[in-house]
Amino acid sequence: MLTRCGIGRLLLYDYDKVELANMKRLFFRPEQVGMTKTDAAVHNLSDINPDVVLETYTLNITTVHGFETFISSLKNKSFHPTEEGSGVDLVLSCVDNYEARMAVNQACNELNQTWMESGVSEDAVSGHRQLLIPGETACFACATPLVVASGVDERTLKREGICAASLPTTMGCNSLKDYFPTMEMRPNPQCSHAVCLERQKEYLLAKLARDAAAKTKMEAESFLATGIPLHADNEWNISVVDDSELEKTDARGSGDL
């Protein structure tokens, strides 16, 4: 979809190869069985839109080596040198295991990178989608998804320092029940990831600064509003009086007119 929309650049990471079993879900073709998924994806995507820059990394991002390559590829700003932050606008996690999600979470926390995570249940009738902004929303380690996904009794999954009451019991869509709840997940102040805690602090400081700046601006604007009169003249001598004064003038009688 992003390719069809003409996104400037896509970085693809996958260490797996195309298999026949993938055909019912993934957009590969049977003759591509045996190719790496990254090569097959480039082939298909560049057919759809040859103007998109496609970079591929056939590696496992959960290994130390793979992770270092992953991080440096995200930091690389040669495509858009003036861009603030990391070299990419958004990271989309479409992986199928917990370990890879944790690795993406780690990288994005370190790079202060917004990302989206998604997943589908084993029975394929429900799924979830989550937007993660380091420091502002819960990171992937803030609320362990093992509680959410497996339905195991929360007590067995309780980690030190996590308040089970703050964990959502379901999230995302269940198509059989036509159920699509959304909820805000705030960061866990006792998250096990030190980097997440750092980002939370940074976000709060930045928010304080933003709120203070917004307040000052509002006050300045309202001051300006009262200082300058709306009308240059006052032909009928209209003035604002207190309610108590109004009663006294009425009492003097209507003969003054």
């Binding site: 991002i61 370990e99 944790m102 690795a103 093992l146």
Partner: protein, 174 residues
């Protein structure tokens, strides 16, 4: 620890727990963690030897301690089957457990992911998460690989998927 067999539970409680929460990118604290890993592994191996159940050998394949290789054994019907084992330490270790691989069995069983990564029970990950960072490689072997071998090897042997090296003309196992 419901869902685990009593043997596994009692063995597990005797393996020393680790204290340092450090992953492979944490420099000096990772070195400290590695020392604790070795201590736990040595203790676990001693225990196994004294129980006449010495079933694995592993060592770090690189100086950073991020890749481990070795062998494991399983006795079925009085025959000893040997398998190579390997795994990488993931970047998010110890929050995520290492994914132990038996490359020789890749494709022979459904209880395995690509590349020979063993498929663990639903009980493993929650237990690992709950005990992070106290569990280490020794615990992963005790809770992960040992039950997997006990569950899968008899089936693989009895169904003829693997043959003992004395029977096999080609090397289907070690």
């Amino acid at each position: 620890m419901e869902g685990w067999d009593p043997n596994t539970k009692s063995t597990l409680t005797q393996i020393p727990l680790l204290a340092t929460k450090a992953g492979p990118r944490d420099g000096a604290t990772w070195t400290q963690r590695l020392k604790e890993e070795y201590k736990a592994l040595i203790a676990y191996t001693q225990m196994n030897k004294s129980n006449d159940n010495d079933w694995f050998r592993i060592s770090a394949a690189n100086p950073e301690g991020t890749r481990w290789t070795g062998k494991c054994w399983y006795v079925h019907n009085l025959l000893k089957y040997e398998f190579d084992l390997q795994f990488d330490i993931p970047v998010t270790y110890p929050s995520t457990a290492p994914e132990i691989e038996l490359p020789q069995l890749d494709g022979k069983t459904q209880k395995m992911y690509r590349g020979g990564k063993i498929c663990l029970t639903v009980h493993f990950k929650p237990l690992w998460a709950k005990n992070c960072p106290r569990f280490g490689i020794a615990h992963a072997l005790c809770l992960g690989l040992a039950p997997w071998l006990a569950a899968e090897i008899p089936i693989l042997v009895d169904s003829g998927m693997i043959k003992h090296k004395d029977d096999a003309t080609s090397s289907t196992d070690s």
